[in-house]
Symmetry: C2
Subunit: 422 residues, 2 copies
C-alpha cells in the first residue's frame, strides 16, 4: 500500500473536486468495474477451444468421452493441473465449469452427510462458524449466509490472515469449522500467503475435529509480473502435521480458457476425495468429459498452461499499470487513498478514508461508473470502517478503464474533501 499525508488547503481542493465531478457527470459515461471477468481479447486467446475436440472423442485410456461415466474426470487433465494446484493427480477431481459449485457442494455435503473426522452432519450442529479473512471474496461470504454459517472476520496482514487470531479462534471454539482462503494473489488485495502462514494453518490445533480450510487457489497461475510467486504446499504440509483431511483445494480454468466453459478442480486427502466422489455419484453420472478432452488438447501440458497465462499477462499487465499510474497521478499526495499493487490476480484494493467507501461508490454510479458495492469485501456486506473499494480492471478496454479510474479518483477527491470540510 502507498500512504500519503493529509493535505491542508481543503476548501480549494473541494471546489476543484466539485468542478471535476460536475464535468465527469456531464460526460454520460457507462463503465463497469464490478466483476473480475476476462476481457473479450483474453477469451480470444482460447479461440481454438471452440472447434475442439474436432474428430477425436477418446481419452488416453480409450474412454469414449461422449458417453456417461468417469466421475473423477479425465486423468490426463488432472495430470496437467496436479503440479499447479499442488495436489497429486490421483487426489484431484476434474469436474464441471465452476469451482464455486464445488465449494457450494462441499458445504452441502458437509451439512447433509458426515465428513471424514466429523462426529455429526453439520446440519445437526447447533452452530457452524467460518473464519473470513478480510477483505475477502463476496461469493464465499454469500455461501455462508445462504447456509446459515456464522462468519467471523479476521484481518489480513501482508503474510495472509492474522494467524494469532486464526489460531486462537480455531483452538478455542469447536463451532469454528472452517476458514476461507485465497492463498495466492488474494481476492481482492493480492496478498500471497507466506510459508510461515501456510505452516501454521497446516499445524494449528483446532477444537473441531472436522475443521476444513477452503483453499480457493483461483489465481495459481495468474501472474502480473516476472516474479511468478510460489506458495507453500498446504495439503502436503497438513498431511505431514497429522491433519491430512484438513484441506480442500479448489481451482479452475475459468480465467484461463473460457470463464463460463472451463473446468473446475477439487483436490484433497484420499479420504476426502472418496467422500466427495461418493456424494457426487448420487448427483451425477459424470462430468462433461468432452470439455475436459478439449482442454487437454488445447493446453497440452503444464508448460502449455504457463505459456497461455503469459499471453493473458500481456493483456492484463498494461491495465493494472494504468490503474496504478492514474491513481498515483490523481490521488498521490492527497492523503485520501491507499491502493495495492498486486503481482497477480484480478483486483486492486483501494482504501479511502473511513466512512467514505459507500459514498464514493454511490457518487461514481451517479456518474456512470459502476463499482462492486462497498462492503462486499466483508462478511454480511458490512465493512466496519466503510473504507475498502474493490477495483476489477480486467474487463473494460484500456481506454475505458483509464476513464473509469480517472472518474473514480474524482469521486474519491470529492467525497474525501467533503468529509474534511464537514
Amino acid at each position: 500500500m502507498t500512504t500519503e499525508p493529509i493535505h491542508a488547503d481543503t476548501a480549494g481542493l473541494l471546489a476543484r473536486a466539485r468542478q471535476d465531478y460536475q464535468d465527469l457527470a456531464g460526460r454520460g459515461l457507462s463503465l463497469d468495474l464490478t466483476r473480475g471477468k476476462p476481457a473479450p481479447e483474453q477469451l480470444d486467446l482460447s479461440e481454438d477451444l471452440l472447434s475442439l475436440p474436432g474428430g477425436r472423442h477418446t481419452a488416453a485410456d480409450g474412454t469414449d468421452v461422449r458417453n456417461y461415466g468417469g466421475l473423477q474426470g479425465l486423468p490426463e487433465l488432472r495430470e496437467i493441473f496436479a503440479g499447479l494446484l499442488q495436489v497429486p493427480a490421483a487426489q484431484l477431481l476434474a469436474a464441471g465449469n465452476s469451482s464455486l459449485e464445488l465449494m457450494h457442494d462441499c458445504l452441502v455435503h458437509a451439512l447433509l452427510s458426515v465428513m471424514p473426522g466429523a462426529k455429526a452432519r453439520w446440519a445437526d450442529e447447533e452452530r457452524i462458524v467460518f473464519l473470513c479473512p478480510v477483505p475477502g471474496y463476496d461469493r464465499h461470504f454469500a455461501l455462508c449466509e445462504r447456509f446459515g454459517i456464522e462468519m467471523v472476520a479476521v484481518p489480513m496482514t501482508a503474510d495472509g490472515p492474522d494467524m494469532d487470531t486464526v489460531e486462537r479462534l480455531a483452538a478455542e471454539d469447536p463451532a469454528v469449522k472452517g476458514i476461507w482462503c485465497v492463498p495466492k494473489y488474494s481476492n481482492p488485495d493480492g496478498t500471497c500467503y507466506s510459508d510461515a502462514t501456510v505452516a501454521r494453518l497446516a499445524a494449528m490445533p483446532t477444537a473441531a475435529p472436522d475443521f476444513r480450510i477452503f483453499w480457493d487457489n483461483a489465481y495459481a497461475a495468474h501472474h502480473l509480473t516476472d516474479e511468478r510467486v510460489e506458495i507453500a504446499d498446504l495439503l502436503g504440509a497438513a498431511a505431514e502435521a497429522g491433519h491430512p483431511d484438513r484441506v480442500f483445494v479448489f481451482g479452475s480454468t475459468s480465467k484461463m480458457t473460457a470463464a463460463g466453459a472451463g473446468v473446475a478442480f477439487f483436490g484433497s486427502s484420499p479420504a476426502n476425495v472418496k467422500w466427495l466422489l461418493a456424494n457426487n455419484a448420487k448427483r451425477s453420472i459424470g462430468p462433461d468429459k468432452v470439455n475436459q478432452l478439449r482442454h487437454v488438447m488445447f493446453l497440452r501440458d503444464a508448460e502449455g498452461v504457463r505459456a497461455h497465462m503469459e499471453r493473458h499477462r500481456a493483456l492484463l499487465q498494461p491495465k493494472f499499470e494504468a490503474v496504478a499510474r492514474i491513481l498515483q497521478q490523481e490521488l498521490g499526495g492527497t492523503g485520501l487513498a491507499k491502493w495495492t499493487s498486486p503481482k497477480g490476480g484480478y483486483f486492486v484494493t483501494l482504501e479511502v478514508p473511513d466512512g467514505c467507501a459507500k459514498e464514493v461508490v454511490r457518487r461514481a454510479a451517479e456518474a456512470g461508473i459502476v463499482l462492486t458495492p462497498a462492503g462486499a469485501t466483508h462478511p454480511y456486506g458490512k465493512d466496519p470502517r466503510d473504507a475498502v473499494i474493490r477495483i476489477a480492471p480486467s474487463y473494460p478496454g484500456l481506454k475505458e478503464l483509464e476513464q473509469a479510474i480517472e472518474g473514480l479518483a474524482v469521486c474519491v477527491r470529492l467525497v474525501g474533501y467533503e468529509r474534511q470540510a464537514a
Copy 2:
C-alpha cells in the same frame, strides 16, 4: 406384457435348460446390459457437435457465451425445448450436463431453504416421504436414500401410478412431500401416463402444502415406433387446478446428443423458477453457455430435434425388436416370463416367476452377462416379489445383444424350471 400358461413336463425342460446353461457358461461371454447408455453409433450421430461452435461465440442477443453469466441459460436453446418439455421458455432453465444434478439440487435446496408454499425447510421437518411408482428408476431412489427421505412404493398400472393409492397417501399424510414420475416411456416399464392420470396428479388434494411432483421427462422425444406418444401437460394442468407450484419438470439432451456432454433442463412455475435461480445464483456464475450455443447450432429447432431422434430410432428399434423376437422365441409358451414391448425409451422390463429375479441375474453374471441388479427397480433395492429384471438394450451391438438375450433366456428357463422342480 405377454403372458403364457404354465407348462407341465418340467423334468425334461429342466434337463435341457441345464445343458443349455452349461453351453452358455462355456462360451466365455462378457456382455453388459446394465445401464441405459447410448451406443457409439448413436453418439456418432452428433459428431458435428465436437467441432462447434467453431468461430462463433455470441448468442442471439449478443451475449458472449464464453464469459460468465446467464444463469437461466440461452433463450434460443430454451425456445427449442419449450414445446417438447411442455414448459414456456420463460419458465425453463437450461443448465449443465445432467438432469439428475438438477433433481439432486432441487432436493438440496428444498432441504436447506424454504420452498414456495412450504412452512419450513425440509431439513427441519420430522419426516419427509416420497411416493415411488414401481418399477422405477434406481437413481431417483438413491437420491431419497442419500437424504434420508422415506420411500413408499406405489404400483404402476398401464396408465401410470395407481392413482387411488397416490391420492389417498398424498391426502392423508402431510409428511408425503413428493412423487417421482417418468411420465413417458417410463424407466423401466415403458408406461405412458394417461390423460386421466395427469389430470388427477394435477388436481389431487395434498396434505402437504409444499408437495412436489418430480416429473422426469427423460424420454420425451425418444420414440421407438411411428406412434410418437404424447402425454398431457402436467405443469399447465396443475396451474389451472390451482396448484401452480406443484410440478418440477426435468429433461435433458443426454440421450439425444452426447450422454456426458449434453444440456439439462428444469421447468416449473414462475415462483419455483425464481426460487431455484436464487439458490443457483449462490452456487454458480452461470452454466456452460458455449455448450448451449453448440446445441443450438447443431439441433437448430424443435423439428431438428425430431429429425435427430428419428436417426436414433433407426439404430435403436432393431435392438428392441431383437429383444422381443428372442424373448418370444425362447420363452414364449414357457409360462416363465412376461415382458414389455415399449413404444419408446430405453428399457424392456422382464418379469420372471416370484422369487426368481435375483437368481436369474446371478446365473447370468456367472455366464458373463451382467444385468442391472434385481431389486434396483424398487426403493431400497428391494423388490418384494423378486420378479422384475430391467433390460437395457441400447449399448451393445446387435449381435452382442442377441447373444445376451439368448443367454438371459437360458438363465430364466434354468431358474424357472429349477423352482418348478423343487
